[in-house]
């Protein structure tokens, strides 16, 4: 069964993990801006799109919290997204 998650749910999960570091507004703005850059417009996201989005966010975090911590944060976001319900 292909991986499909609601874009809104994915962004909500990302905000939950990212906002303690970069604030609510920046978490939302950054994730939305990266979605736009990656051409993610649909209501659902594939595994590849989620990976690309998390990759972009992780790269940005490195200068604020270092590579190891950024990887941990990205993994936390990935687990939160994996725990979301599949889009039917």
């Amino acid at each position: 069964m292909p991986f499909r998650r609601s874009t809104d749910d994915v962004l909500e999960s990302i905000n939950g993990v990212l906002s303690p570091y970069v604030g609510k507004l920046m978490a939302r703005t950054a994730a939305s801006a990266h979605c736009r850059d990656l051409g993610i417009h649909a209501g659902e996201m594939s595994r590849e799109q989620v990976d690309a989005l998390l990759g972009k966010l992780g790269l940005g975090l490195i200068v604020f919290i270092g590579k190891d911590k950024a990887q941990t944060v990205v993994e936390t976001m990935r687990r939160a997204i994996d725990g979301l319900q599949e889009v039917q």
Binding site: S19, P20, Y21, V22, G23, K24, L25, M26, A27, T29, A30, A33, H34, K56, L59, G60, L61, I62, V63, F64, I65, G66, K67, D68, K69
Partner: protein, 265 residues
């Protein structure tokens, strides 16, 4: 309350306590000049030592090749220079028991410290702007830098005019002009980073940089007031300068510690 919140409260209480003691005479409290000198020295140096130690630890936490590592390394070096300069001032006041001569050996370290601090802020600015977070474009930053320089030029005239006009030895006059000028240069990346910081409000990045840059703004205020009073030969309000430096080093230390908490939690 979180551990981080308790640490902030402790820092704020220490800064407020030292500030109240330094303002003791104005508040009518009978404290000797000697006691005030000790409070002034010990109210600043521990904050600087905390800032230096944790700036170094932050540097080590960022892996080689990370652009932020250079920023933290330069900040560490700048704060170390300030610590050596402040230690020099303490040595004169507390151990030699004499008024600090001006200029003194401390000025060498202060003059080394300012360019290092400025370079560190530019390094942070460069790395944060390239991080991929929407922090505004280069055009906006150039405009803000130009506006800051314009305001500095407006402020610089009334601050520098009495300094230049005052009868003083050449080296003393040079330093009195140099400090505000170095502050103006430092203020440019400070304002640009503050603009970026506002976009992170509510997060740990915001807390770190608000404290750190707030501390730098207090340094600017302290230096400007000191240069102005020095030029006027006014000594009654010099404790105000001490209070501003206590607030400066205290908030810089808290900002550096915030970053360390963010890297270690």
């Amino acid at each position: 309350m979180t551990r981080s919140g308790r640490t902030t409260l402790l820092f704020a209480a220490l800064m407020a306590g030292v500030a109240v003691i330094l303002a003791a005479r104005s508040l009518g409290l009978p404290l000797s000049e000697r006691a005030l000198e000790w409070v002034s020295a010990l109210g600043k140096l521990p904050f600087l030592l905390v800032a230096v130690v944790y700036a170094w630890r932050n540097t080590r936490r960022f892996e080689a090749g990370n652009p932020a590592r250079l920023g933290w390394l330069l900040l560490f070096a700048g704060l170390l220079s300030f610590t050596l300069a402040q230690s020099g001032l303490c040595f004169y006041e507390l151990f030699l028991g004499i008024s600090v001569p001006f200029p003194s050996v401390a000025d060498i370290f202060f003059l080394i410290g300012y360019p290092l601090l400025t370079a560190s802020l530019f390094a942070f600015l460069r790395s944060y702007a390239a991080a991929g977070f929407p922090v505004g474009g280069a055009g906006e930053r150039w405009m803000l830098a130009a506006a800051t320089l314009f305001v500095c030029a407006l402020l610089g005239v009334p601050i520098l005019r009495p300094i230049v006009a005052a009868p003083a030895p050449a080296l003393e006059k040079f330093l009195n002009v140099c400090y505000p000028l170095l502050d103006f240069v430092l203020l440019v990346p400070t304002v640009l980073l503050l603009r970026i910081t506002v976009r992170f409000r509510g997060g740990a990045v915001w807390k770190t940089w608000l404290a750190l840059l707030g501390g730098i703004v207090f340094t600017f205020a302290g230096d400007s007031v000191f240069a102005y009073l020095q030029a006027l030969g006014e000594t009654r309000f010099l404790r105000l300068v001490d209070i501003l430096y206590v607030l400066s080093f205290g908030w810089i230390a808290r900002g550096v510690l915030y970053q360390h908490e963010m890297l270690s939690d």
